[in-house]
Symmetry: C2
Subunit: 112 residues, 2 copies
Amino acid sequence: MQEATCPQERIAMLDTFEALGGKWKLPILRYLSNRPDEQNTFKKMQRELGAISAKVLTQELKELETNQLITRTVLPTKPVMVAYQVTQHGLTVIPLTDQIVQWGLNHRTELR
Amino acid sequence: MQEATCPQERIAMLDTFEALGGKWKLPILRYLSNRPDEQNTFKKMQRELGAISAKVLTQELKELETNQLITRTVLPTKPVMVAYQVTQHGLTVIPLTDQIVQWGLNHRTELR
DNA sequence: GTAAGCGGTAACCGAAAGGAAACTATGGGA
DNA sequence: TCCCATAGTTTCCTTTCGGTTACCGCTTAC
């Protein structure tokens, strides 16, 4: 009897969703990859990303850092600032998000 | 001042998640795309996909049909059977899922 | 008649996700 | 002294997601 679904594929997909799942991780990675040379501080990101709360932003940034997709740097400024940057590994997500965007555009035209 | 995030990209991503989101839609599409010539009936899929409940399977299939990613055919058998097939449009999801699988594999090796 | 297989539907539940508001600690300026 | 800004943390709340169980109508086999 044939295998229902290839288990290692399922596991790989689950790995991806675990690292990139959640409402804001992909937007955050796209945001940071568009601003590789700026001081992407917490408050600046919160202002510019849209309607994300501090709690969720903290959470998503932590998980991205755990998965080595971004780095966190504390700056020696007077009110301490923290800057986030996308890593080399984090940049590998961009082609994937590009394809997600492309599929969404195509899907919309497909439905008329 | 620069745009925080390109709004049309965000919308396209949300479109994709709306059509493909949920625990089982991608596995179902991969399952069906691997069996284009079989009678993929409800019960057979439920048995072979793993731990999916009838309620959720019904739900996911409905949404996939709404988005024209699969077709639903009632067969003229004595106990009525229903067969599902992936559409041409549904097949366009496969390259995307391939990349999701690939990224998951790569991510695992990246973390050692 | 009764049980089994088909393709569902309806009611209920618990867990998780995400958002709002208040709060922390630090330091600078009026 | 009070207020502002930084970067969070904590508590509470609502919504959503997926799963369990029971049930329906239909047909065939025992």
